[in-house]
Amino acid sequence: MALLIQYTLIFASVLMLVALGGCFSEHSGIINIGLEGIMVIGAMGGALMMRYLPEGTSAPVMIVMVCLAAVLAGAVYSMLLAVAAINFNADQTIIGTAMNMLGTALATVVVKALNMAADPNNVSSTIEYVNQKKAFYFNIGSLELSWFMVIAVVLLIVSHVVLYKTRFGLRLCACGEHPQAADSVGINVYKMRYAGVLISGILGGLGGIVYITSGVSEWKFENGVAGFGFLALAVMIFGQWKPMNIALAAILFGLMRALSNVYVAFDFLAGLNIPGTVYNMLPYIISLVVLIFTSKKSRAPKAEGIPYDKGSR
């Protein structure tokens, strides 16, 4: 049972962080399909930091440095989307798709090159962080919790406040709903959209490092992040673009992911004889059903996906 709670919480943290990232980007009016790619790059940044930090680095320093590396990598990578979509009016779906492919390819190339440089016989795309990983975990009773969960909860509250209670957040939303109107009252739509994408890069990158340190202690970058970025998109939609709802959706979807990993441990679930694949599939099916019922009056930002053109009305 402890294992189930543990997995649920960690997967929920990943999904929540990444979905919040997507939420900021979409509220500014940019669809970010490239979350999966951003996660991979963020994970790579964090994993490399873990590898190159000297042994014996104290836990707090480790956590801060790894988070910074992941955030920075994700933020820089997200600029690929921002520049293309905001300055060059590129189709956001193509750019996002390209970023997903590019993320995995780039991470594989970089990690393999570094591995080969360190040891000519090591041609794998794997980074190990068995000892470094321990810094992120602490115990409450029999529960092994991660500091990332704390960070995720803090960021959730911050996101909610920023999005609904601050001038910045409200302006951001205005740019996603009706950019021309926002511009007419003096808001710089381009800047706001850059901010939205940048935040999605930061949160996406952080989500990436949380994901690869959950449960496992090495990561093979050829595999990318196995669809978690897309699952986060589903969480964002199920949460109807609202931070608090996103948190609930993330817990639900995290629970299902966790079930697919540990359902064998529960007699009644194992007795049902449902293959683990079904639990993996459920989140996607649920979000589709939700979409069917909610899309007629969707809460999605109205102007998302449309390049901002000052001249149009």
């Binding site: 399909i33 690929l80 293309a84 060059f88 009016n89 590129a90 189709d91 779906t93 193509i94 750019i95 798709t97 390209a98 970023m99 997903n100 492919m101 590019l102 995995t104 390819a105 780039l106 594989t108 190339v109 393999k112 090159a113 080969m116 000519p120 041609v123 795309s125 050829e222 595999n223 990318g224 196995a226 669809g227 897309f230 699952l231 998109l233 589903a234 939609i237 293959p275 694949t277 079904v278 993996n280 599939m281 996607y284 099916i285 979000s287 589709l288 979409l291 069917i292 019922f293 899309s295 007629k296 969707s298």
Partner: protein, 374 residues
């Protein structure tokens, strides 16, 4: 003046833009290689571009040209799927999932039900078409964005197909049973085409079939009433409706055809026995996503896609030949994903080109006027 008019030609502009994307993509790839290891970089990038030409004998070259073509056929079909949907204003990111259900259906029909090849091929097309139509239906009836529903379907189909194909897999590995040994009736007929490629057994009617389909799609889009209606719906849904076109039916039909093409793509690959499906794969196969690349690189033109698909497959296969002690094969994935990224800028390049031409025209006119005054 004449040269000017030629440059304004939209087709030529697309071609120039695609060439730009390729060149910039290769350049960035080369820079990446230089950073990894400066000495072997030039050799590596030429190896990627050469692909099978690295073999010294013509016999081997033809054989591996055959292999490249075997994988070009499904890529071309996926590209057609994406571009067909795009003409009607839909982004078929679900080509990947439709490809997956196509693969699942044809492999199960071949290995589980022992059906002949044409039945498996048809089954794959129908399965892909149904999934595509479902996305179209959700869009028209419930206003569900096709990009989002397609992404969900991609993963749902992957998990379903993995479960289905686990019934026909080898007992000791996650791969499905070999087609040549277990279901020879389901192999696509070679019609002696393999002989031209040093007896490459994987070269089948799939390759000419893919080219025929791309010509058919071009005819359908450019020369038929249906094609006209689909394009009109894509340009302006409301105007098309006002003109009496059934826009809902058209959207569903478009997605069905696009899905069918992607489903067929899978059959054209898996029914050659070239690859086996791994039932333990945890991510959606890249073929459908590469189709997006090929479609946009080909300027969203069915005939252009033939060349762009071949090019992408060519450099992807070329990646396998780089010196493995210095670089990894994924360098070519890196380059091809860069190229798709750059394809996002094609629209901007075209606008910039036209703006440049306008300026040149104005200057010339101004000069003429000045000359007239004197």
């Amino acid at each position: 003046m004449k040269k000017n008019n030629l440059l304004r030609n939209s087709g030529l502009q697309s071609m120039l833009a695609s060439v730009m994307c390729i060149l910039v993509g290769l350049l960035v790839g080369y820079i990446a290689l230089l950073i990894i290891n400066a000495e072997g970089a030039w050799e590596a990038i030429t190896t990627i571009i050469k692909n099978y030409f690295v073999y010294p004998t013509e016999l081997a070259q033809m054989k591996y040209l055959g292999n490249t073509l075997v994988k070009t056929a499904p890529l071309l079909m996926c590209a057609l799927s994406v571009l067909f949907a795009n003409k009607a204003g839909l982004f078929n990111i679900g080509a990947a999932g439709q490809y997956v259900v196509g693969a699942g259906t044809c492999l199960y029909m071949a290995l589980g039900l022992q059906l002949p090849w044409w039945a498996c091929l048809l089954g794959a097309i129908v399965a892909g078409a149904l999934l595509g139509a479902l996305s179209g239906f959700l869009k028209t009836q419930f206003n569900v964005n096709e990009v989002i529903s397609c992404i969900m379907f991609n993963w749902i189909s992957l998990y379903c197909v993995n479960m289905l194909l686990a019934k026909v897999k080898e007992t000791t590995s996650p791969y499905t049973l070999g087609l040549r040994a277990n279901a020879p009736q389901a192999l696509l007929p070679g019609m002696g085409l393999g002989e031209y490629f040093s007896n490459n057994q994987y070269v089948t009617i799939a390759i000419p079939l893919a080219i025929i389909v791309s010509i058919a799609i071009w005819v359908l889009l450019e020369k038929t009433k249906l094609g006209y209606e689909l394009k009109a719906t894509g340009n302006n849904k409301n105007a098309a409706k006002y003109a009496g076109m059934k826009e809902n039916r058209n959207i569903i039909l478009t997605m069905a055809i696009a899905g069918g093409l992607a489903g067929m793509a899978a059959a054209l690959l898996y029914l050659t026995g070239f690859e086996q499906w791994s039932t333990s794969q945890a991510s959606v196969p890249g073929m459908g996503f590469n189709g997006i690349a090929a479609a946009f690189l080909g300027g969203l033109h069915p005939i252009g896609s033939i060349f762009s698909s071949y090019f992408i497959q060519h450099i992807t296969a070329g990646g396998a030949y780089v010196d493995k002690t210095l670089y990894c094969a994924q360098v070519s994935d890196f380059i091809s994903s860069l190229i798709i990224y750059l394809c996002g800028f094609v629209l901007f390049m075209k606008v910039a080109m036209n703006r440049g031409l306008d300026k040149a025209d104005e200057k010339r006119k101004a000069k003429k006027n000045e000359g007239g005054k004197k």
